[in-house]
């Protein structure tokens, strides 16, 4: 189809969206991503019967958690499409990218970077105590 979609979308393959656990979605945010979207099969057409419906419920739950931690529920979304709907996939990629871009970078980005480079939290105090 030679369709274009934004290059800043990283695709993580899973056998079914039913595999996507709450923790998996939260860990993505902890690693510093700006947003997450799930691309599940069309509702009622899950090979495993209810995988995509379960994923939708979990996304709704994660939305609440994201509001709680102050990242905002809009940073996660679930879309449905069949394997033959490449056009719809590209549309989703553009749609979510625009939405997340409007929200700006994740507020935890600075923290995620500091974590990668600097000392682990709590270590400074330990060093000071030893002096």
């Amino acid at each position: 189809m030679r369709l274009n979609y934004p290059a800043n979308l990283k695709v993580v393959k899973v056998p079914c969206t039913g595999r996507v656990d709450v923790l998996l979605m939260l860990k993505a945010f902890e690693s510093g991503v700006d947003g997450v979207c799930l691309a599940g099969c069309l509702e009622g057409e899950c090979h495993y019967l209810k995988g995509n419906l379960r994923a939708r419920k979990r996304v709704e739950y994660v939305k609440k958690l994201l509001d709680e931690v102050g990242l905002g529920a809009e940073r996660i979304a679930m879309y449905n499409m069949s394997a033959a709907q490449g056009q719809r996939f590209a549309e989703m990629a553009r749609d979510i990218t625009e939405k997340i871009r409007a929200l700006g970078p994740t507020p935890v980005k600075a923290g995620a970077r500091a974590r990668e480079q600097g000392p682990r939290p709590g270590e400074n105090e330990k060093e000071k105590g030893g002096e």
Partner: protein
Amino acid sequence: MIVGDRKPLEEILEMIKSYKKILLLGCNECVTVCAAGGEREVGVLATELNLVRMKDGPGIEIKEHTLERQCDYEYIDQIRPFVEEYEAILSMACGAGVQYVAEHFAQKPVIPAVNTTFLGVTIEQGVWSERCQGCGECVLERTGGICPIARCAKSLLNGPCGGSSQGKCEVDREVDCGWQLIIDRLTGLDLLDRYDEVVAVKDWKTARDGGPRRRVREDLRL
């Protein structure tokens, strides 16, 4: 099992606001089954706490650890080698677990992350319901296996009261009247004559009214 409910994140954040290194301790028993404080919930809470703290800097150092049980000293001893490295323990066990961990580490603040709610059963995946209040003197034989203490809002032993309407309780229209359930079950068992017996006043000394309870089996003691 003991059923619990995770405390709201805001409340947990307030309790741990002065700490930078915490040990987040889950429990593999009841709170795992009711999805309140098992290994998975430990992971979710650790990530949530991190996301909140990472907005202001490098976050919080959390060691995630889940014990087989927090209500047995053999398992609690497993955290002894590394517990000193952390400023506080945030426990996701029931109230019994939180207290028993605290008893073992006198110098370590132990904070609860779960509200312990009731002794109950799994109705379906994601739904739990109260069944027992641990009154210390079981009356289930007389009531067809349905507990009037736990299932009746007033814990009546000779019910129902006037608040029972169309099989539901007046405190909540979604709650079954415990006594309606008892009568239906006794009818089904053809044991309704038991309903005619007036139950004497219950001795609540065996329940909480007699003070904190303790059970000793001398033959098992070492």
